[in-house]
């Protein structure tokens, strides 16, 4: 019986971990290039979920298909936010930039509250109730699609960074800022693109999650802090590390829920966070910025 519980914990932990990984990849990319920890990441995800909701409710567009709209839309929104709010302050002290994104998060979350009020909304496409069993472990189809979509998106991101010129420029700026500038890379543009990609990633994650979650102004909070944990675990700036870190955190959380009483699973996640911060701040896989 306990073996079944553990198997279930592993399966559902990995499924959710994929989504955590996608959310964190965007955050990690932004950190690698802009050196800021974006507190508004979850808020952008929330806005994307509202967008998915409106597209579904008003135009009947399937949430997964709507990614074609939501992804690019939030890429653009991300670029605008970067240009307007963050770029003008790029020489500000690190902690001030952190506070900037905190202010942005407070603003966006409460803007949603003011505009659409606190009541909850659901998106429920016809296949949302589908599921199957692997051994004794339940696999819910929407969660499987979300995990799969997250992996695909992460791989696409990886390919983009490896194969395209813009991608290479982003990596260069992330790994070797001074060298990159000397090579004549348009730093301002790359920074905006990187932030846009971060926003686009988390927007896709939001769309993927909407069919099995709910939509409300505070929904980003469920993923925001976890994303930080994953990014630190994977190594800040190491986007592949972020995806792997997502699986690890999802797994840890799920095992925590199985083995610990009450709602202590959160303690496992934060405990892991503190341990990594103290003992391996460059991340489990290295490659991240140290301290």
């Amino acid at each position: 019986m306990t073996a079944d519980l553990l198997l279930q914990a592993v399966v559902s932990g990995l499924l959710l971990g994929g989504v955590y990984g996608l959310v964190a990849s965007g955050l990690s990319l932004v950190f690698g290039v802009l050196r800021i920890i974006n507190f508004a990441h979850g808020a952008v995800m929330m806005l994307a979920m509202y967008t998915t909701y409106w597209l579904f409710t008003l135009a009947g567009i399937d949430p997964y298909l709507s990614i074609v709209v939501t992804g690019p839309l939030f890429f653009l929104i991300g670029m605008v936010i970067q240009r307007v709010v963050i770029e003008p302050n790029r020489f500000a002290a690190e902690h001030n930039q952190l506070l900037l994104t905190l202010g942005l998060a407070l603003f966006l979350e409460n803007l949603a509250l003011v505009l659409w009020q606190g009541d909850f909304r659901s998106v429920r496409p016809s296949y949302a109730g589908a599921s199957f069993v692997v051994g004794e472990a339940l696999v819910e189809v929407p969660r499987l699609i979300a995990c799969g979509g997250a992996i695909v998106m992460a791989l696409a991101l990886f390919a983009f960074l490896r194969l395209t010129d813009v991608g290479k420029a982003i990596r260069a700026l992330s790994e070797e800022p001074e060298g990159a500038m000397l090579m004549g890379i348009d730093v301002g543009r790359i920074r905006a693109v990187a932030f846009g990609i971060g926003a686009g990633c988390v927007a896709v994650a939001g769309a993927l999650v909407t069919p099995f979650f709910y939509v409300a102004p505070d929904v980003g909070e469920s993923f925001n802090i976890i994303a930080f944990v994953v990014v630190v675990l994977g190594g800040m700036g190491n986007f592949v590390g972020a995806l792997l870190g997502g699986f690890i955190v999802g797994l840890a959380e799920s095992l925590g829920a199985t083995l610990l009483p009450g709602s202590l699973k959160q303690l496992v996640v934060f405990g892991l966070f503190v341990l990594v911060l103290l003992f391996r701040p460059a991340g489990l896989f290295g490659g991240g910025r140290d301290r």
């Binding site: 003008p88 302050n89 952190l98 900037l100 979350e109 803007l111 202590l264």
Partner: protein, 311 residues
Amino acid sequence: MTGEVLAGLALGLLLVAPPFLPPYFLEILISVMLFGYLGAAWNILGGYAGQFSFGHAAYFGIGAYTSTLLFLRLGVSPWLGMLAGGVLAAAFGLAAGYLSFRYGLRGPYFSLVTLAFAEMLRVIAVNTKAVGSSLGLVIPNREPAPVNFVFAGKLSYYYVILAMAVGAVWITRRVARSKLGYSLLAIRENEDAAEASGVDALGMKLRAMAISSFLTALGGTFYAQYFAYIDPTITFGPSVSIQGLLQAIVGGAGTVLGPVVGAFVLTPMSELSRAAIRGRAGVDVMLYGIVLILVISFLPRGILGSLRRRP
């Protein structure tokens, strides 16, 4: 110096005017003083030492729960409990600080680890029946008993928090002008250089942490006694952490009066916005967000910090 004269006048007004204020304004003033106090406590570590804690709620909560539990379970006067809470919080702060600083956590990494510590305490409180879990703790007997930190009217509470705020400002001033203060300034500007020139960065930062966490905990006890109810979210939640640092940032981190000025700007602003746009939850926090963005963008040293730059 005009600054000091203004401050003196303001203090005079704060001492004399409140008995004549309508109850609603007195309430707002108490909120202002409490937030200003918390901001000043945060400022010692955040503004002066440059270590931005996002988890000061941890100390606030330790203070609130310690004094309340001692009072409810053992009948210890909250005045003593307040001190006990402060010492406990300082101990926790030193432990957390030592771990973080010793392992070289700086900047955003330090901020994140403090956030994690506060959240961990919250989750533990929620899951611990002995401290009431999510039902929290109520201080039931409201019979006025000054020896037990229970007063008949709001005015008495006001003067207590006013005294605490003045005390925090005075401590800030003393620290700023002391060797500790100069060391912290050096550390804030460039920790490695400071270390190289012989400053014991770890020791100095820990001192700042101890003072900051001790003071914050006292604020927690005040809150518990004034509102007579605490729970894990109110005390350990992110709201308290954010409120504390907001006052200092907006008013001027690293200045003596910054947090108090920040409180006088932010609290009425949120009250007015809430009254102006009735029935719409979230307007006040939305404005906090905008103010924070604007302040960081245009007044990165806060109101007082920017004023100082004038020739």
